[in-house]
């Protein structure tokens, strides 16, 4: 299946989109999602270990991702 992943700021520019459909086999982990994104055009611009959020909370690489989860890649934050 494909998992929609939200993109922001520099990552949205890299992929040329605010959301990308990432091909993954469920269930999977955060690391699996990032790995799958590297083969999508723009994915080569991702850093070695991009931050990922699942359902509005930072998630570690081994965290489980299930269908229906809201997954987002988080560029280096720069608020303030």
């Amino acid at each position: 299946m494909t998992l929609p992943v939200l993109l922001f700021a520099s990552y949205a520019d890299a992929f040329g989109a605010r959301t990308v459909a990432v091909p993954v086999t469920m269930p999977c982990t955060v690391a699996d999602v990032v790995l799958a994104m590297r083969s999508i055009p723009g994915g080569e611009k991702l850093p070695a270990r991009p931050l990922v959020a699942v359902n509005h909370a930072y998630a570690k690489p081994d965290a489980r991702v299930s269908a229906g989860d809201e997954v987002a890649l988080i560029p280096p934050v720069a608020g303030g």
Partner: protein, 155 residues
């Protein structure tokens, strides 16, 4: 935020100019003896480049959740702390207030310490990004992890 008692901690994302007086009013209370405020404003120069404005973008539901988490941690560390924090998104000009924090406590040390911790935590954790525009027409997404050489730049 106006016209009715605020529920604390007050955390919010706004696309409008920040009402600093309302933020201070939200944390004011008869038991409070000190209110520390922090205002982040758009600076005219960054890394030696003249800045004309900044676009702020945020992952709003997560930003609110992270700000709430920061506020809860501070209240746990300093019981009785009354905190309000609000971040503005959208296009801001030099001098505009991008973030405002008010921390009220019976004593000045917890008030000031919590205010400092709040802004440092916000800058480290809250998913908000800024794209700086320069007088030469170029722009860059600011990357605090690599301030000497921003990761994305386009004219």
């Amino acid at each position: 935020m106006t016209g009715q008692p605020a529920t604390l901690p007050l955390v919010a994302i706004t696309h409008e100019p920040i009402d600093v007086a309302a933020l201070i009013a939200a944390v004011s209370h008869a038991r409070v003896g000190a209110i520390s405020t922090f205002l982040g404003t758009v600076r005219e120069v960054n890394d030696h480049r003249p800045v004309t404005g900044i676009d702020y973008e945020g992952y709003e539901p997560m930003a609110v959740r992270e700000m709430q988490g920061i506020a809860d941690e501070l209240v746990e560390e300093w019981p009785g702390l009354r905190i309000a924090m609000i971040h503005r998104l959208g296009t801001l000009q030099v001098g505009d207030v991008s973030v405002a924090i008010a921390c009220a406590h019976a004593r000045r040390a917890p008030s000031a310490d919590a205010m400092r911790r709040a802004i440092e935590s916000l800058k480290a954790r809250v998913p908000i990004w800024k794209r700086e525009h320069y007088v030469d027409g170029e722009w860059t997404w600011v990357d605090p992890t690599n301030s000497a050489a921003p990761m994305a730049s386009q004219s």
